[in-house]
Amino acid sequence: MTNHTNTTPWDSDPSLKDLSGSLDRLGQAERQAAPAGLADRIAAATMPKAAAAPNLRIAGTQIETAPATAARIGPRIPMRLAAAIGLAATVGAAFMAVRSGTPSPDPAPAIVAVSHPVEDWLTAAELWADFSGDELSTLTARASSLSSSLDESWITTDLFSEEEDSL
């Protein structure tokens, strides 16, 4: 059983023709060695990726395109921007608080201004210290599983895409 759509001029060579037939049987054996349910598992595992990015260009036609990568990258940018603005605001407020205290002949207000964030941090540290060991280990386990799932996701998607030019 072959899939070939064309034959060779030396198929008339009996020895090579027999060998070619044996190779066909070998290929068939390899195909039939696939584990049961292979197609079902693969289709199920890769289906969301197909459904998430529903476009195909057919030569001579043009269907609007929504790159799948945009959905993955897009939401991260505003979050990073917001984090950067928040960080800058915090640092700026601390700097202004320190600076506003310097002209004062009395150093006490400046010390008070600086001490508030320090006290906040100490309070947060105490709250963190109140975490039980179980809570910490639960958090660690969740972080590990998230990390491994992210790794698997990258392995099955993007890491190998450098050489595959579409036709």
Binding site: M1, T2, N3, H4, T5, N6, T8, P9, W10, S15, L16, D18, L19, S20, S22, L23, D24, R25, L26, G27, Q28, A29, E30, R31, Q32, A33, A34, P35, L38, A39, D40, I42, A43, A45, T46, M47, K49, A50, A51, A52, A53, P54, N55, L56, R57, I58, A59, I63, T65, A66, P67, A68, T156, T157, F160, S161, E163, E164, S166, L167
Partner: protein, 201 residues
């Protein structure tokens, strides 16, 4: 519908329709596509890595890439889907081999089972296929590539020539040379073993 069943290969218009529906998120069409080609990709991968689980991983990785590229519009259907699919598959297989740096140096008992499953009745036939498999594994890379794309992947010579960007005549000559090398290897092997068991000589 499986592409390795005679008469079940989709025509180009049929395949284009399945591709378009799969790219649009039609789960049934995507399943059909995977069913059509997963065993052929698996056979190609298994011939190289000789590990069922790794071959399945590679096959899944290939289809994950196909799904992403189909959906993102990076593939334009011009009747060359199989060439593209198997190019992706060959790249995956090469990546895997580069990572593992493992070269097969032992007979895989699984091939005997699979040969039996393929309606190869006699034990001597199964042994012949195992010997043939070993011989294919010893071929130089360029020869092996053509043999495996043709006989494991089930591609036509025109498709392989297009995929490897070679003239058809050159590709046919490469296949012929590969067959002759394979034949010489098998004859040398059977001569040294003192037994010929069904392998063409």
């Amino acid at each position: 519908m499986a592409a390795d069943e005679p008469g079940k290969r989709p025509t180009d218009p049929q395949l284009s329709g399945v591709l378009a529906r799969a790219a649009a998120g039609d789960g049934v069409a995507w399943h059909t596509l995977v069913e059509l080609y997963s065993h052929r990709v698996f056979a190609l991968a298994r011939s190289r890595v000789r590990d069922v689980h790794l071959a399945e991983e590679i096959t899944q990785s290939v289809f994950a890439t196909i799904a992403i590229k189909l959906g993102s519009g990076e593939y334009t259907e011009q009747g060359r889907f199989e060439q593209w699919l198997f190019r992706v598959a060959m790249n995956r297989v090469r990546d895997s081999i580069r990572r593992s740096r493992r070269r097969p140096d032992h007979a895989d008992a699984g091939i005997l089972e699979s040969a039996a499953a393929a309606d190869v009745e006699s034990a001597s036939d199964a042994a012949s296929l195992a010997a043939l498999r070993e011989a294919v594994a010893r071929l130089p890379e360029a020869d092996r590539e053509v043999i495996e794309l043709r006989h494991h992947g089930g591609l036509g010579f025109n498709q392989i020539a297009e995929m490897l960007d070679e003239p058809l005549g050159t590709l046919l000559a490469r296949h012929h040379r590969a067959l002759k090398k394979l034949k010489a290897m098998i004859e040398a092997g059977t001569a040294s073993a003192g037994s010929a068991r069904g392998i063409p000589s």
